[in-house]
Symmetry: C2
């Protein structure tokens, strides 16, 4: 506890949202579930963990903290990757968990919209949509525990971006508690609304630094009649890009996934999960294609076969398999999804979440691979990701025999400098889908266009003049 | 001219961008081409019209005006509908035309992106994409003269929004001259980039009030193999909404257009353009459906026929035609596009550009029609628009025998109040795709959520503290 001012605030918070929803270390012991991120990379200490149950309670908490000059760290499912949702170590920040705000407020099937509170777990919203024959086209590894509020705060990406865009593209309206503790009801279900500045997209991706998203209206789509999967073996990354072009032309919006995996990333999977099949064992690059179809399985599979025949003829693919059943489709996706787990089994590495123009990816990877190998002989690249979006998880693994944790501790900054310098040269982004948080704040300050940085800081001062909303994150 | 300070600024501007590109009334006579909007609803007077040829010149103009405390009104093709791009009558504002900045800077076919300067005419960009077999999926009535900078500044909509979104959804990156005359180079061609606040979407739709968009990187798509059109007759608007649901499920992303027209709007077309065909003359509501297909004409037409059979069986459609050729498709679109022209021939009416949740449209129209008819017996509704986006041009025509111009002059405000009150009750927007400009500024102040308004004003003050960027527009 941090003395009398903290005590007075905690009394106010207890009065505002009920004693049991204000947790302190003194009264409740270990608060690690909120104070530490799930990968255990950051461990902070909160003045208190507060769990408001509705929008008015969130607003009351913010007003009380603003009056006391106490910072607030909003948190959803605590599945973030950049340390944006855990308090710092000062013991002076209030951790505001949105998890009790988990109601679906409305599902309008004719308008294809879902309005849900920030604390809803993503998977529960996917299920609510599916129950009406509809699709919420946002899918990512953490979907079983991440919340939609966190997805919005970080503009999460995932595996459906190629067809449906990032979380931002799925959001039609927001309800937000401002830094002053006022409630903005912008929960619109409209596809067109040109009435003033786009505040919605400003809050989406702002990582809790401008205000707190308490609810959102999201776009839905009809469920496709069938989803099928294929795997293709490419000799080079340029071949994979050529296949992407071919697939876009022939499948159009039916192409809903295009993931790439290099040989080393699938070797790790084979090493740590030997029971998994390995359909194209000799491919330098393996592409997973997903197709969604409004008509059904058979026409989709036929279209896949025609596409892959054309790709074999073109030479950009040298082998391919089309899943013959839903089970086979799932097995192919399972391979892709096992890469992060296999990495974790293998030990720590230096992780990246970069984006590039798709056209620049082959040259970028060739040059950056070479530059890294020159400086760190023997290093291996776990190179995989959402090629259709130009988004690679270009992870750098120490040479055989070198301890991963030590390599990370000693070389992370130098590795990042090489990678991000190459990214910048090709017009790319050093944070594609994970955000800035605490982890990449210095990179943002160093690498973002200075005019853009100045505008961001001006907006932050304008909307949060006391700098109480998730301070020290992003800016 | 406005005395010595104006003269000094004009000398500075001439030195910065060349004498011939700084036009004044004294030296060049009538400047109506820039001072008046194309519908001749607003006529202002500029201190000068300046025509910079590149980004650095735009920045120099802004710096000179900022130093002199002189406001700037940016203008593209001058095709706006809300008076946002013409100067006021004071003679104290500099009109900055972007029309000389009309270069395509890059077209990256493998990345599906086009980078173009703000003054490029939309149609020329559609053609540049088509020359590479690609589609720039933004299409609106003014495409032959509007500029992409204006489209971005107003977040223009049009007829492709159902599939591709508004202009905002097509924009990946921007180059902007700030109110301080600095250049922000944010011309990214990335599908994912979570490095800080979404400045791009803040500038898109801000109507020149925060800074000047000088170039943009836009998304392209492969050209579809075929585009086909059908017309369906519905008894009620609820039937049209039911048809939309059916079409979305069966055509998925292949459904690229869904326009509705009431009987009166097509009667006006028949009256003023009697040579045009009228395929479904007795329909209370006519729906135009457009389908784009990656495979070809035949499968698309087949799919249309199956859809319309199902709709006839369901009862939501009572008659339909599928275009048998490109010429027939064009003729059906021509009907739809003739409605605004037929309206102009018929005389003035009270125009609206509203959006609603699609699910609310039948009830909204029924109630609002009744409320208007009670107050103004005999009035007629020219009700047509982009039903797939929930966007109606719900235009109110005076009763037969009453002069349209007089009705507009005397009743516009009262009509708007009835319409916008109903729009608000159904969670809609009083400006779907045309923006705010000067025309709807008072509506914005009166109808926007006060917390949103306060945030917009704070952002405006933060980015344009001198209030020199298109003052008096939007806010």
């Amino acid at each position: 506890m941090s003395g009398a001012p903290g005590h007075a605030l905690i009394d106010t918070l207890r009065a505002a949202i009920g004693g049991p929803q204000v947790l302190t270390r003194d009264d409740h012991g270990d608060l690690a579930a909120w104070e530490q991120d799930w990968r255990r990379r950051w461990r902070g200490q909160a003045l208190a963990v507060v769990r408001p149950g509705n929008t008015e309670e969130v607003a009351a908490v913010v007003r009380a903290c603003a009056a006391a000059g106490v910072p607030i760290v909003p948190q959803g499912g605590n599945t973030g990757l950049v340390g944006g949702g855990v308090p710092d170590g000062s013991g002076s920040q209030v951790l505001l968990s949105l998890q009790r705000m988990n109601r679906v407020r409305a599902l309008d099937a004719a308008n294809l919209t879902l309005t849900a509170e920030a604390g809803c777990v993503l998977q529960s919203l996917q299920q609510a949509a599916a129950a009406e024959g509809l699709l919420l086209p946002l899918s990512l590894a953490a979907e079983g525990s991440c919340t939609i509020g966190g997805n919005l705060a970080t503009n999460a990406g995932g595996t459906q971006v190629l067809r449906w865009g990032n979380t931002r593209d799925l959001c039609l309206g927001l309800e937000v508690v401002t830094a002053q503790g006022e409630v903005w009801n912008g929960l619109s279900g409209l596809r067109k609304d040109n009435t003033g500045y786009d505040l919605r997209d400003l809050f989406v991706g702002s990582e809790g630094t401008l205000g707190i998203i308490t609810a959102a209206t999201l776009k839905l789509a009809p469920q496709p009649a069938a989803v099928t999967t294929a795997l293709a073996a490419c000799t080079t990354l340029a071949d994979a890009v050529a296949l992407l072009k071919l697939a876009r032309g022939r499948l159009g919006a039916g192409l809903t996934g295009f993931e790439v995996m290099n040989a080393f990333s699938l070797e790790l999977v084979a090493r740590h999960f030997p029971a998994l099949p390995r359909p194209l064992p000799d491919a330098p690059w393996t592409v997973l294609l997903e197709q969604s179809d409004v008509e059904g399985e058979a026409p989709a599979r036929e279209r896949f076969e025609r596409l892959l025949e054309a790709a074999l003829e073109d030479g950009c693919v040298h082998d391919a398999v089309v899943a013959e059943s839903l089970a086979q489709s799932r097995a192919l996706w399972h391979l892709r999804e096992s890469i992060p787990l296999a990495q974790a089994e293998e030990g720590t590495n230096v992780k990246h979440d970069i984006a590039l123009p798709v056209s620049a990816i082959p040259a970028f990877v060739a040059e950056c691979d070479t530059a890294l190998a020159e400086r760190w002989p023997g290093i291996r690249l776990v190179d995989f990701g959402h090629l259709g979006d130009g988004n690679l998880h270009y992870n750098v693994q120490a040479a055989p025999g070198i301890d991963g944790a030590q390599f990370l501790a000693e070389q992370e900054h130098a590795v990042n400098t090489v990678v991000f310098d190459h990214v910048a040269r090709y017009g790319g982004s050093f944070s594609a889908e994970h955000g800035i948080g605490a982890l990449k704040r210095d990179e943002l300050a160093a690498r973002k266009h200075p005019v853009a940085l100045a505008m961001m800081r001006a907006i932050k001062r304008a909307l949060d003049p006391q700098n109480l909303m998730n301070p020290g994150r992003v800016l």
